[in-house]
């Protein structure tokens, strides 16, 4: 990341010291994004290894033990050390710029949150070196990303691998709470004059709701990890069934975190769409208040759906009915959002630049992901397909088809602001089309072996099951996605040196971050701006017809 520093003097150590000691929200945001990208490549490589193993029946490319570690590390890394940091990174970078502030509310807390999350990630991977400890009982964690009890107890997971998992997730949780706290405090107390809550960019609104979900959802995970540490180190019995403890209690605690976590990850993706789609449709966002209300509604409902991950446990008819209902209800505010984005595009003069085509891909794929979600919400259907590849296909449709697509869109959209240079549109189109092909090969076809009964987390399968052909297609898709991602990484590096000069406002956009130079100076704004509407730059460019007339 050091290459981003526009320093004219000083050696490597000066640059390093500047980045390590910085409390500037832009640098911290970039470090978040940089470290998430490194882990994205690592966890992507783990996924690739699993796809090689599963491409043909009776394969022995990796051992069963290695396979267990691969899916555990892939899931944990992608959720805690790719998804969370990359979204917090964009939030850190963009929120002060969008609300006309010079930094976050608590800059030092911001640096603390970043470093503690980063060390959590390093700790997780340090397990490969140190996990076997004195016991010689395996290296990296292999308990799955939701680490069900009693598999995590000392008896079934000797050695230290599970401790590395617990502690790294605990640290990441502490960092997430710190950043979430910072985001809410920044948005509520640091807005520039005139920016009432009703004029705040939707991105900031969605980040506030995400952060509020984080308080209520990430903390239970922290509590559950403390309990697990007590069980493993102090001999407690929280999840010890031999002493009357309950394995199902861990499932509840984990999914009270686990399901809202999906919304913590997807709301920032919605936030990017809220900023990108209007700019490339040349229209103001359709239904701003409805968008805010739908987001808050999603935040509330997301707290009451967790047990749909546990239908197969046998919760009883009342609980099944309740969680089926609440899970289906969440499709309503989500549907409102999709209609609002479509209405924003309707009748607009759409520019099909790379950020926009990724957003359009997101719209369609998120719709399909939502539809399989409604299918799985029906508990009898879930009894058939719970823990099958249908579930894996469903949530990857959300995580890749919706969230990752919007993260890519955000890179193409804000890269000019961050570096002062445009990313290559040609490479961007290659990236998009290869990724779309790869994504649909992998995750459309992954539903089928699930329907045919293939369970998740098996390291191989017999040839007579009829899953081989489908898995081969799924694995070939992974190669396309890898190639597309490499093009993206190449584009990021190449454009930094050779990209076209962007200027402050290359997309003719309307929010405050485009009013300052690219990259923004460390103080963001020479003078704190004053705003009179939701689109301050529109007002400035069209003084004859300002937005204030219509809001």
């Amino acid at each position: 990341m050091a290459t981003h520093t526009p320093r004219r003097h000083g050696g490597v150590f000066d640059v390093l010291q500047e980045w390590i000691t910085t409390v500037d929200h832009k640098k911290i945001g970039l470090m978040y994004i940089g470290y998430a990208l490194i882990f994205l490549v690592v966890a992507g490589a783990e996924a690739l290894l699993m796809r090689v193993q599963l491409a043909v029946p009776n394969n022995h490319f990796v051992s069963p033990q290695t396979f267990n570690r691969l899916f555990t590390m892939h899931g944990t890394t992608m959720v805690f050390f790719v998804g969370m940091p990359i979204l917090f990174g964009f939030g850190n970078y963009l929120i002060p710029l969008m609300i006309g502030a010079r930094d976050m509310a608590f800059p030092r807390l911001n640096a603390f949150s970043f470093w503690i999350s980063a060390f959590g990630g390093f700790l997780l991977y340090f397990s490969y070196l140190a996990g076997s400890g004195l016991y010689g009982a395996g290296t990296a964690p292999d308990v799955g990303w939701f680490a069900y009890a009693p598999l995590t107890s000392r008896v079934f997971s000797p050695g230290h691998s599970t401790d590395y998992w617990t502690l790294s997730v605990l640290l990441s949780g502490v960092g997430s709470i710190g950043t979430a706290l910072n985001i809410v405090a920044t948005a509520l107390t640091m807005r520039c004059p005139g920016m009432k809550l009703s004029r705040m960019p939707l991105l900031v609104w969605l980040y506030v709701v995400t952060s509020c979900i984080a308080f209520i959802a990430v903390s239970p995970l922290t509590a559950a990890q403390i309990m697990l540490v007590i069980d493993r180190y102090l001999g407690g019995h929280f999840f010890d069934t031999q002493a009357g403890g309950s394995a199902v209690l861990w499932m509840h605690f984990f999914w009270i975190f686990g399901h809202p976590e999906v919304y913590i990850l997807v709301l920032p993706a919605f936030a990017f769409a809220n900023e990108i789609i209007p700019v490339f449709s040349r229209k103001a966002i359709f239904g701003y208040p409805a968008m805010v209300a739908a987001t808050v509604a999603i935040g509330f409902i997301s707290m009451g759906v967790w047990a749909h991950h546990m239908f197969t446990v046998g919760l009883g008819p009342e609980a099944n009915a309740f969680f089926t209902f609440s899970t289906m209800v969440i499709a309503v505010p989500t549907g409102i959002k999709i209609f609002n984005w479509l209405a924003t595009m309707w009748g607009g003069s759409i520019r099909f630049a790379t950020p926009m085509i990724f957003s359009i891909g997101f719209l369609f794929q998120f719709l399909i992901a939502g539809l399989t979600g409604v299918m799985l919400a029906a508990s009898p259907f879930d009894w058939q397909l719970g823990n099958s590849y249908f579930v894996v296909a469903h949530f990857h449709y959300v995580l890749v088809g919706a969230i990752l697509f919007m993260i890519f869109a955000a890179f193409y959209f804000w890269y000019p602001k961050i570096t002062g240079r445009m990313m290559s549109e040609t490479l961007g189109k290659w990236h998009f089309w290869l990724f779309v092909i790869g994504f649909h090969m992998t995750f459309d076809f992954m539903h089928v072996p699930g329907l045919l009964g293939m369970p998740r987390r098996i390291y191989t399968y017999e040839a007579d099951r009829g899953w081989g052909g489908w898995n081969m297609i799924v694995s070939i898709g992974a190669i396309f996605q890898t190639a597309a991602t490499l093009i993206f990484v190449y584009n990021l590096i190449r454009s930094y040196y050779k990209g076209e000069e962007a200027g402050p406002d290359p997309w003719d956009a309307w929010t405050l971050e485009w009013s300052t130079s690219s990259p923004p100076p460390s103080y963001n704004f020479a003078e704190i701006p004053t705003v009179h509407s939701r689109r301050p730059l529109w007002d400035l460019k069209h003084p004859d017809d300002p937005d204030t007339n219509y809001e």
Binding site: L188, C212, S219, T222, G236, H237, G245, P504
Partner: protein, 198 residues
């Protein structure tokens, strides 16, 4: 579009936003409440499910005196903030000292309770489900009391050294909100552990 666009900079004098510290503390309290709720749920869920003794009824006594001390310390810290805002540093120090003393009594009686439980009744965190959930929930609360006491003691030292003035009233108020939260959690813990769980 080659130069930075200028946005108007007229300042609005009546532009007021909430206090940073208060919003931050409110967020922290929201997150901490969620942690406590999970521990309370675990305690309630495992009430009466221990396979072996001792049971809460056999070993727990109502900690009335220490509860009164802790709850009173909410009042003293409130007066400390009040006096600081009025610029009366000496009064503020006195009320802070009272708060630290009352909080200290609470922690000392928790220590005494734990000593008796461990050495006289043989209840440790690994004895049974009651021990596991009791020591974690009460210990989680006690660790918050200790964190609060450290911060209050620092505030007391600074105020005795004369480094505190009325401008710091808001900061002390943020700390007092944390202290009120710790007290409120104790009301829940007291009710669940010593009243309902017994």
């Amino acid at each position: 579009m080659s130069t930075a666009v200028a946005v108007s900079h007229s300042t609005e004098d009546d532009w007021k936003q909430p206090s940073r510290g208060m919003v931050g503390m409110a967020c922290l309290i929201a997150a901490e409440s969620a942690i406590f709720i999970i521990f309370v749920i675990a305690y309630i869920f495992y009430t009466g499910k221990s396979l072996t003794g001792p049971t809460p009824r056999e070993v727990l006594d109502l900690p009335i005196f220490s509860t009164v001390c802790l709850l009173s310390s909410s009042i003293t810290v409130h007066f400390a903030v009040h006096q600081l805002r009025a610029g009366k540093i000496g009064q503020c120090s006195a009320w802070l000292a009272g708060t630290v003393l009352l909080g200290g009594i609470f922690i000392a009686s928790t220590a005494k309770e734990w000593y008796e439980l461990i050495y006289h009744h043989g209840l440790t965190i690994r004895t049974n489900l009651f021990g596991t959930t009791f020591y974690s929930l009460v210990g989680l609360h006690a660790s918050h009391v200790i964190a609060g006491l450290i911060m209050l003691s620092l505030a007391l030292i600074f105020s005795l050294q004369g480094k505190v003035n009325a401008h710091h009233a808001e900061r002390l108020e943020v700390l007092s909100v944390y202290w009120h939260f710790v007290d409120a959690v104790w009301v829940v813990v007291f009710t669940v552990v010593y009243v309902l769980g017994r």
